[in-house]
């Protein structure tokens, strides 16, 4: 059951990214090009996605997931340096190419060598992240 639902969610996600044009880096870079030829498409995608998702969050109240267990708890409103520095790094990288993780995966089979290079570098970055955090933590824990 878990696997069928995961396949369904992944397939819907991929279809949505594909149809909305979000696998086209020009559309994404156009959205970020606020001071140039601004393309608002991404805003419509976000808006379209937030509505069903907000309904889903409302439906979680007083219920539990279909497969059992509990829904993820709402995290503290705490804004830590990790969240902020991570978002800054992600945003800069996003603006360099116009791909974020979802569209990079969805376009993997038709994105050509560019897509494969980006994807490989992204996976290396994801592998490096916990190691980089551990290095940063070391002086603090040694005290």
């Amino acid at each position: 059951m878990r696997l069928i639902l995961a396949l369904l969610a992944g397939g819907l996600f991929g279809t949505g990214l594909h149809l909305s044009g979000m696998t086209d880096t020009q559309k994404v870079l156009g959205f970020l090009d606020l001071f140039g030829a601004w393309d608002p498409t991404l805003m419509f995608v976000m808006g379209g996605a937030i509505v069903p998702m907000a309904i889903a969050w409302a439906l979680t109240r007083g219920r539990s997931p279909l497969v059992g267990g509990t829904f993820p708890a709402k995290p503290d409103a705490k804004l830590d340096p990790r969240l902020i520095s991570g978002a800054v790094m992600f945003g800069i990288g996003w603006g360099l190419v116009g791909l974020c993780p979802g569209p990079a995966l969805a376009s993997l089979t038709y994105g050509g060598p560019s897509g494969l290079i980006f994807f490989s570098a992204m996976v290396i970055g994801m592998w490096l992240a916990p190691r980089a955090l551990r290095l940063l933590d070391r002086p603090a824990t040694a005290e």
Binding site: A6, G10, T25, D33, V45, L83, M89, L105, S107
Partner: protein, 138 residues
């Protein structure tokens, strides 16, 4: 209203439904960077089967759509330096900041989660800076 905006809304609604299925069904937040990243660094080992199923469909279904006709072009840069730097930053940043456009953006904002809203504002702001700076350089 331009047709691209309508496709944006339609595609967006599908993305939202995908997140709804993953949340209401499996009780999990649908974040592309979290689902992939957990496999890459091993933190999601006990849920690796559902992660792999999700990723297989996320990659496979657009591949079928591409084969059957909807013409799409990613128009990605061929400058490998930008691709490597961009990929590394996206990989590092989404794992350090705990989310990307799907997790913080779609799932976080729809829950009015402050962290998701702040992260989204920051990465869009950083993206705008990055695009504006690049345009000045090339």
């Amino acid at each position: 209203m331009p047709i691209e905006w309508i496709w944006g809304l339609v595609g967006g609604a599908l993305i939202g439904c995908a997140g709804a299925v993953y949340l209401l069904g499996n009780g999990r937040i649908m974040g592309a960077s979290g689902i992939l990243g957990g496999l890459v660094d091993g933190t999601g080992r006990d849920t690796s089967a559902e992660r792999l199923a999700f990723l297989a469909a996320l990659i496979g279904v657009p591949a079928l759509l591409f084969m059957w006709g909807t013409p799409v072009e990613t128009h990605a840069t061929t400058n490998w330096l930008l691709l490597v730097a961009g990929g590394l930053l996206v990989g590092l940043g989404t794992r350090i900041g705990n989310g990307c456009t799907s997790g913080h953006g779609v799932c976080g904002i729809s829950r009015l989660n402050i962290r998701g809203i702040v992260a989204t504002c920051i990465y869009i702001g950083a993206g705008v800076l990055s695009v504006t700076a690049l345009r000045g350089m090339f």
